[in-house]
Structures are given as C-alpha cells and as structure tokens.
C-alpha cells in the first residue's frame, strides 16, 4: 500500500474566526492563537489567545478569551467573550505579561484551564511557566489556583514551559507541553528551541514529569515542536503537533507545519508526519504556515482547528476528517 492509503484526509473548511473583525474589545485586536474547544449543548466554545496592539517598544501582552460557535453551523459566531478569561499576573509574577496559550477540560461542575504565563527577561525576551485556574460558570471566568505556576523549571527543563494541553485518560491527569532546550542566537536575535514533553498527576496540581522528549526531531536537531494535541480514537492515541526550523521561521520556507505521531501507551510515540494529511494551501490565509492543531469530535465528525499564516495573527480555521483516525 502506498503512503496515500495511510494518510488522513482533512478537508479544509476555511477560516472561522478573524480577530480584526471584532469590535469593542481593546484587548482583542490581533491574533487568535492556539484554539482549544469545550463542547456545549448547542454551541462549541473555542478558547484562543489574542493581543491588544503592541506598546511603544513593539512589545505585546497576550490574553486568552473565547468565541462561541453554533454547533449546527460552526461558521456562525454566536458570542465572543466580553472580557479575557484571566487577568495578567502581578508585578514580578510568572504571568505578568501574558496568559497564552490555554487548554481547558471539564472536571465535575468546574472547568479547569491550564495556561502558559509569560515573564519578560533581560538577556532573552521571555520566560514561560504553566499555571492553572478553575471556572464555576461554565468557562466564562476563571480563578487562578495561586500566584505561581503549577509546572515550573527543573534540571532537564530549564526554561520556557509552555503550550499546555490537558487531558484525562484512565483516571489520570495528563499534561502535554513544551520545554525549552536552548536559546539560539540567530542574526543577533535569541530564538527558543523547544521540545514536546509530558507530565502526569492524580489531582491535576501536583505533577510528575516524564523527563523525556516524546517526539524525535525530524527536520533538524534544533527543530522546535509545539501544540502536542492528543486524541484517543480507535484503540490508540493520536498526537497532532506543529514543528518548525530554529532559524528564519517567520516565513513560508522554515515556518510551522503540522506533524503526527501515535502511541499505544501515551509515553512511547512513533512519529510519522506523512500521515498528518494537512499542509499549507496554494493560496489564501494558510498558504505560508499551518500550526497549533487541535482535534475535537462533534456530532460524529472529527475536526481539526488550526492556525494559518503568521501563527494565527489573522485567526484560526477548521478542517474536517474524511474517514476515521486510525
């Protein structure tokens, strides 16, 4: 059998949400990054991260918010959150300059959010650690579980712990995330290299790190990997993620693409990007890069939410699977 027989067939449906079209929210001018879904009876709440305009030094802060899409017609926006779901942290705290990205999960009557908090540093532009917050109003507002992170730096994960994806399998909490490996100097600029990692927990608060790179690097040793989105279907675990080169990755050639790996036990993963089945388009909003995949199931169909050019500056889109995840 040829590769094509194994490849997933994603049918692109187009861009769903464009932040530039939103009015009346000063904190939401550009970017709708890292979509993450929570399904309700008649709508799908999609969390994303966005930014107000950059400050006088060209620096951004980022917030997380949500948009409710009609369950019958996902291209129909029903509501956009009035406020960010989380405030920025206080002076000197890990999330003082950003709460991005966010991943949500139901836990009894609550919704729990795991998010990456951004601090600004002197020698490198930022550092990141992972915080947790809970909601008692169906995910509209969240209260942080503390002023500090629930997942922070350790000997093998020295900086940039970001991109959390929270899941529960077999009564255990799983957190997939990325951890910085090195800061690379490229043309006078510091660029982070990060790899996909995992931790487990019995309560979602106290975590045990696996301390292992889950996905082998393919395009280069310093390949950066992000958005490890794990989905269980048909007897195995599927991970869609994105990866890019370490240098000059802000354009088409070295920019983000979507990769794929599968596992039977959640810790050992076999990468096979030829199966991913989604790539940049010839033209349009996702012609330069595709990134930050998020898989969800809805009414018998499997969808993939993802970002297009400039890592979601102009919003996110959807694709639907033709067939099943096997």
């Amino acid at each position: 059998m040829g590769e094509a027989a194994h490849m997933f067939k994603w049918k692109k449906l187009g861009k769903v949400f464009t932040p530039q079209e939103v009015e009346g929210r000063s904190w939401l001018k550009e970017f709708a990054q890292a979509p993450a879904t929570l399904v309700f009876d008649d709508f799908v709440r999609v969390y994303f991260s966005c930014r107000p305009p950059a400050d006088e030094n060209g620096q951004y802060v980022s917030y997380s918010a949500y948009v409710d899409l009609d369950r019958v017609d996902l291209f129909k926006v029903r509501h956009i959150g009035e406020q960010p779901i989380l405030s920025l942290g206080g002076l000197g705290e890990f999330d003082e300059f950003g709460t991005y990205p966010v991943s949500v999960i139901r836990d009894g009557d609550e919704v729990r959010a795991y998010y990456a908090g951004w601090a600004r540093c002197e020698s490198v532009p930022f550092n990141v650690a992972i915080g947790c917050a809970t909601s008692r109003d169906e995910g509209k507002t969240f209260t942080k579980l503390g002023k500090g992170p629930v997942l922070s730096y350790s000997p093998d994960e020295p900086f940039v712990l970001s991109g959390p994806k929270i899941r529960r399998f077999n009564d255990l909490w799983y957190l997939w995330y990325i951890a910085g490996r090195k800061w690379k100097m490229v043309a006078g600029r510091t660029e982070p290299v990060y790899k996909i990692r995992m931790a487990t927990s019995h309560d979602g608060i106290h975590w045990t790190k696996l301390n292992k790179d889950l996905i082998e690097s393919r395009i280069e040793e310093d390949e950066a990997q992000a958005s490890p989105d794990v989905f269980y279907a048909n007897g195995k675990y599927h991970m869609f993620f994105c990866y890019r080169y370490s240098s000059h990755y802000r354009g088409k050639e070295n920019g983000y693409r979507i990769g794929y790996a599968s596992s039977s036990n959640l810790t050992d993963w076999v990468r096979d990007d030829t199966k991913a089945g989604i790539d940049v388009s010839d033209e349009g909003w996702d012609a330069e890069m595709v990134s930050y995949p998020h898989v969800f199931e809805l009414d018998g169909k499997t969808y993939l939410a993802y970002l297009g050019d400039q890592v979601g500056r102009y919003g996110f889109g959807l694709a639907v699977l033709d067939g099943t995840l096997k």
Binding site: G89, G90, L91, G92, E93, F94, E96, F97, A119, R120, C121, E122, S123, V124, N127, A129, C132, L145, G146, K147, G148, P149, V150, S152, Y153, S154, P155, D156, E157, P158, F159, V160, G180, K182, W183, M185, T190, P192, I205
Partner: protein, 319 residues
C-alpha cells in the same frame, strides 16, 4: 547562648580573586577538612555593557585557627548558567554539604528581569574533587517558583538528618513599589522542604516557618541550622523590605529561632546579639549568617556593612 565576636577574618580587596572579581565576599559557607576549613563566598564582577553586577563563587582555605589564610581559589569553581537559564547572571550563595564522597552545592541562581530586577531559583551542582569544581546536574533548578511561592526561591541551606535531606530556603511573597520614584522591592520569608535524594524536593508550600518581628514587610533571608545539645538552632537575617540599603535602622540584623522537632520554630532574637561599635566593619549591618562546628566549637560567620562588600567576620559560641 553567649557569643564572642572575633572580628573580620577575610577582606576580598586584599586578595586576587578569580573571574576578575574585585569586591564582595558574601554569604560565607564552610566545608570542614581535617586540617583546614574551606569557606565559599560570593564575589562580584561588573558587567561592562550595563554596569550591573554578576556574582561568582570563590573560596578561601583557612587554617583551623580561623585566622590565617592558606590560599584563595584562583580558578572558576562553577561557571554561570547558559543564556536564559535561572543562574545566568549570578550565583549567590552556594551552600555545600558532604554526601558520601561527593559535595553537593546548592546554588541560588540569579536571572535578570524587566519589570522587576531579578528572579532566583535553587540549583544543584555536585563536586567529585572535594569542592574544587562543581558540575550542574542540569541546566534548570531543583527548587523554583510554585503555586503559592510566586517568585524568588533561593538561599537554600541543606542538612542531612537521618535519611532525610532538609532544606531551609526563602520564597518571595511579592514585589511592591514603596515610592513612585524607586524601583520595586521584594519581600521574602523562610520555608522548608524535604527530599530523599537531595534532588527531588517536596516543599511545605509557602508555609512561613519563622514569624515576623517587623510585620508583613519583613524580609527574612539565608537560614542556617545547627544542632546544639539536642536542640536545633536557626540563624538568619531579616530587615525591612524598603530603604534597607542605606538606612541602618532598616538594614539587616541577625535573628534566631529554635526547634525541637524541625517543624515548629520559636523565634528568639536575643541571641546572637552581635551589636557593633559605631564605625566598625559590622556596625551598620549584620547579615548572611552561617553557623558551623569545628574542633568542638560552634562558630558563626557573617557579613557586615554594605552586604559584605569588604568581607566577612566570625563569632564563637562561648556557652
């Protein structure tokens, strides 16, 4: 407890120091050998690009009379951390503890921030050559900010008691701007963590184990613990969180607490009472205590004025 001051025993400006360091010998920490005592301290270089300090670890080997210097380290004991790492901009202090044939060095690593001056975390480096050089177990820390300890985890002091590693350390409770025209200042408190291997630690998450004497804005730093006659004694330093650098009334003093169960501590600052004579090296400030035993005597090393810019001194327990 009655302490007798023995005066300043080491002045960094009187010695050649590694890493082009010129001043400061802060936070002395001892490793006792058969016939000498190795005292690690933090000294500083100035970053030429921005005039900021970076702290480096050095040591002085001193005779057991604790007066005569044998030598000062002339090589790098542990390099600073890599770009973007927790200890990129300084190591201050490093606490050393023997474990088997190794020496574990618990470093407080400094990294500079933008909205506040700095953050810190505690790393582990191990020496296999009796403390001449130390190698990191990884680029990241073993103890860092957590849910209720949002910043500035540092100043680890480790003691192995029975089969348990105990660490006393400090955690930041937050940063505050005390006046419109000054940069933010931090407040920290003393906490406790335990470990079976010295690497994986369980914190008593944000439990402040030493009560405040100066109120909520008291900063407590550099705990050091010793067992004397079946009772554990902790020395530390404390100060106001604002205007503590130049105003001697707000600056560091050495505090004390004791415990019989390593859990409940009773604060009792009546000891060590090292009051200085005006004009002396330690008359305006006393900080960064380190207590240790040598040939049956209990000693206290500490820094004086200007946070130890001109060295450290010694006191001995008389009763």
């Amino acid at each position: 407890m009655k302490w007798k001051k023995l005066g300043k025993i080491f002045d960094p400006t009187q010695h050649a120091l590694p890493n082009d360091c010129v001043q400061f010998a802060q936070s002395p920490q001892t490793l006792v050998f058969n016939d000498f005592v190795r005292i690690y301290f933090s000294t500083r270089t100035v970053d030429k690009s921005n005039g900021k300090y970076s702290s480096h670890i050095a040591f002085v080997d001193i005779h057991k009379n604790l007066r005569d210097v044998i030598r000062v380290s002339d090589k790098t004991i542990i390099p600073l951390g890599e770009l973007g790492c927790f200890d990129e901009h300084g190591i201050f202090p490093m606490n050393v503890v023997r474990h088997g044939t190794s020496v574990y060095g618990y470093t407080c690593g400094w990294n500079r921030r933008v909205s506040v001056s700095v953050d810190t975390a505690i790393g582990l480096s191990i020496s296999h050559d009796d403390g001449l050089t130390f190698q990191r177990i990884g680029d990241g820390p073993v103890l860092a900010a957590s849910r209720h300890e949002p910043c500035l985890v540092g100043d680890g002091f480790v003691k192995i008691i029975g089969d348990m590693f105990h660490m006393w350390y400090i955690f930041g409770t937050g940063w505050k701007k005390y006046a419109p025209d000054v940069p933010p200042d931090r407040t920290y408190k003393i906490g406790h963590a335990v470990s079976k291997d010295g690497i994986n630690w369980v914190k008593e998450e944000a439990r402040q184990i030493i009560i405040d004497r100066l109120g909520a804005d008291e900063s407590q730093a550099l705990p050091t613990v010793i067992e004397i006659a079946g009772r554990y004694h902790m020395f530390f330093c404390y100060r106001q969180s604002f205007d503590f650098r130049k105003n001697k009334d707000c600056g560091y003093r050495i505090g004390h607490a004791y415990s019989d169960d390593l859990s409940n501590w009773t604060r009792d600052d009546k000891t060590p009472q090292l009051d200085g004579t005006p004009g002396e090296w330690d008359s305006d400030m006393q900080c960064y205590p380190h207590v240790f035993e040598c040939d049956g005597k209990v000693y206290l090393l500490y820094n004086g004025n200007e946070f130890g810019r001109y060295g450290f001194g010694l006191a001995v327990l008389e009763t």
